[in-house]
Subunit: 146 residues, 2 copies
Amino acid sequence: MSGESRGSQLLPVLAQLVRFLRQLEGPDNPSSVALAVLRRLSEEGPARVTDLARMTRASQPGMTQLVGRMEKSALVRRVPDPTDGRGVLVEVTEEGRAVVIRTLAHYATTLDHLFDELEPADRDAIVQALPALERLAQAGQKERAG
Amino acid sequence: MSGESRGSQLLPVLAQLVRFLRQLEGPDNPSSVALAVLRRLSEEGPARVTDLARMTRASQPGMTQLVGRMEKSALVRRVPDPTDGRGVLVEVTEEGRAVVIRTLAHYATTLDHLFDELEPADRDAIVQALPALERLAQAGQKERAG
DNA sequence: TATTGTTATACTCTATAACTATA
DNA sequence: TATAGTTATAGAGTATAACAATA
């Protein structure tokens, strides 16, 4: 062990992973925020703009704009909130659901393919580390939330 | 083991990691592409716009524009290429070097801090998986390059 | 003619400030 | 007055097409 910190060791690997995943996102697929919103709407039903903004840590105007773009692409639809005249409920459309399914399948397939190219020992090491990586990412989210 | 593919298992974890690292980047820090360019220039000296574009998989006009923004922020400087009248050499400034050092230190510190909050077993699992994750990311890059 | 770099243009994504409508 | 949402505006980041200068 050198004097190098753990963070320094982790940094280049994570940077490369991020660059790779960013490419995976590509210009045709929905952005990570758009995908997170569509998943949320698909899995838990309609939501307010403010709630979507909070969930994704976006600003309220930013979410208004994203919802606007997604509405233009027919991925979501705005309906008035019956319980609050100021509010708007954002609903996923059938096309929006299809995009979620298609996108996640595409990512999973790509990752599977890459996984298959690795040595079995590497595959095992990554699978072993998945829960730990998840907790690392969660700790990172909490950091900001606090 | 369920019938779920490895890619599907990996997906949510990587997605969360990416979201966390994107927040880490923040609006004040240089973008990942800008940081990659500044590192390249710091470590290996001046480079052509075309080479920087190829290295980061950006378009040539995109790199011209990024260099323009970085020049406006005094992070780099353009000098004519003495060996080719068409070319331009991009050089990092002292301020650019300082930004690289400061940014990497910030990332490393943040990751160290998060690492310290993990259980030792989790830390070990991640360290064990680092070379495998690096190869996974490299495989992903190659995929695109081919 | 091919290469290097830029300009023109357009779109996504994001933010802050100012505004409107409802509570 | 506080909250929900939008509009106005600005800037980063990215791309393609058209162009200028040099090789």
